[in-house]
């Protein structure tokens, strides 16, 4: 083995590497794609939770849409008002008021109010339980209480108390992770400023609803009649409160015989 052979081998590999490196360096210099600085700045200003509450594919998708002027400011629920202000500064636009959103469980079916229809011994997961005759509880619409929403919440705002999920509105960032995790679809995102909420999702007629849960909405329309602002309507045997019209007078809360309309955040 001649020593020059080694040198030639090294020279060939090094030479090819050098040539390719040079070509790549030149190519990347010539064909550099200008990256929008705004996009990067906005991305770093966002919380990076990638929750999808804004409706875009992750924080980077929202940042790109913001920089292109396609997305509205304040769609980021976890970031809230502070985040919107920072981004507004970066983009040089007015921030505007951000309506803080929080998640709410529309169910009062605690162990005292409702019963179970079976002895369930399967996996302790709502998604698993719901595949077996629609869940454990006697109410077909109610909270199953195995806490799929608890598991998915990144902020520790959800807990299961006495068989029904509850969300701490002060910890909640409104990211909608629990909304998507709930197999019963009884969690929705409402405004933090909402004053009166209906904590029931039962669409059955009064007699049927009353049979399965002590605090089910029976569609009696007392709330509808008593409301002076016309904010409460009964749709499909279930009361619905229009948060924008609601004055927070509490007349419906007092009128409800089932106690399923309550004040929010008390």
């Amino acid at each position: 083995m001649d020593f020059t052979m080694i040198l030639i081998a090294v020279a060939i590999v090094a030479g090819i590497g050098l040539i390719i490196g040079l070509i790549l360096a030149i190519a990347s210099a010539i064909m550099a794609v200008p990256v929008d600085e705004k996009v990067e700045a906005v991305t770093s200003a966002l919380p990076g939770a990638n929750c999808g509450a804004c409706g875009y594919s992750g924080c980077s998708g929202y940042a790109k849409a913001l920089a292109d002027g396609e997305a509205k400011l304040g769609a980021c629920a976890p970031g809230g008002e502070e985040c919107a202000k920072v981004i507004a500064e970066i983009l040089g636009v007015e921030a505007g008021a951000v309506d803080r959103k929080v998640a709410l469980v529309h169910c009062m079916g605690s162990c005292d109010n409702t019963d179970t229809k079976m002895e369930y011994q399967g996996i302790k997961s709502c998604a698993a339980a719901v595949s077996l005759h629609g869940g454990v509880g006697s109410c077909a619409y109610g909270c199953i209480g195995f806490g799929d929403c608890v598991a998915v919440c990144p902020y520790g705002a959800v807990s299961v108390c006495n068989g029904v999920a509850r969300i701490n509105a002060d910890l909640c960032k409104g990211c909608s992770m629990c909304v998507n995790a709930c197999p019963k679809h009884i969690i929705s995102v409402v405004s933090y400023k909402a004053q009166t909420v209906v904590r029931c999702s039962n669409f059955d007629k009064g007699a049927l609803a009353r049979k399965v849960c002590k605090s089910a909405c029976i569609g009696c329309k007392k709330c509808e009649k008593v409301c002076e602002a016309g904010a409460v309507t009964v749709v499909n045997f279930k009361a619905v409160v229009d948060a924008e019209k609601c004055s927070g007078c509490n007349l419906c809360v007092e009128a409800c015989p089932q106690g399923c309309i309550t004040q929010f955040r008390v």
């Binding site: 060939i12 590999v13 090819i16 070509i23 790549l24």
Partner: protein, 200 residues
């Protein structure tokens, strides 16, 4: 001449299919074949890189490594060239065809480590001789890429059917995929001898 080229092209697609007969490029074959669309995009990129890589590595081998008796450097030099080429393709695509660049996503840099590409460039050197020159090598690379595409798209179709099947619990996921892959591979064995006899 043209007859020989057609023979090389068909052989690369059917009898010497790089995925199903030589078992190269199994990683993307199993990983990216869940949907027909992504399988198509990936195969198109692989085909492009295969032809380009052969176009560059073949002269390097013949006019640089052979004269200096450095044939044993083949593997490392080829890997170097392929990695550089994929980077170059990435830069060019990003600049001129951003839509394709975005749709290929992670698959493009993954081609760097696709052994089918390295296999095509290296196995073609073994074949080279007085009757198998540069043009033949390029046609072979194109055929290999199309063969990869055929295998990927076929298998993606098989896997989409598998989704709807009631598979025994222990076979779900990767096991049934491997069983299906072996059956598809067996079916390709039926092509052996076909090309030689067809053009004889």
């Amino acid at each position: 001449m043209i007859k020989a080229l057609v023979a090389v092209f068909l052989a690369a697609i059917l009898t010497e299919n790089y995925v199903l007969s030589k078992f190269l490029g199994i990683c993307p074959f199993l990983g990216v074949s869940k949907k027909v669309n992504t399988a198509l995009g990936m195969s198109a990129a692989v085909t492009f890189v295969m032809v380009l890589a052969t176009a560059v590595t073949y002269p390097i081998y013949m006019y640089l490594l052979v004269p200096s008796q450095m044939e044993y450097l083949e593997t490392i030099v080829f890997i170097l060239v392929i990695a550089g080429l994929v980077q170059l393709v990435e830069i060019v695509l990003k600049k001129y065809i951003p839509a394709l660049y975005n749709s290929l996503g992670i698959y493009l840099p993954l081609i760097t480590t696709n052994c089918a590409v390295l296999g095509v460039t290296m196995l073609v050197i073994e074949k080279s001789g007085p009757e198998f020159g540069y043009i033949h090598a390029l046609v072979n690379a194109l055929g290999a890429g199309i063969g990869f595409l055929v295998a990927m798209v076929m298998f993606a179709g098989v896997r989409q059917r598998l989704e709807a099947c009631d598979i025994p619990k222990s076979l779900r996921g990767l096991p049934i995929t491997l069983v299906a892959a072996s059956l598809v591979s067996l079916s390709f064995l039926g092509f052996s001898g076909l090309v030689d006899n067809m053009l004889a």
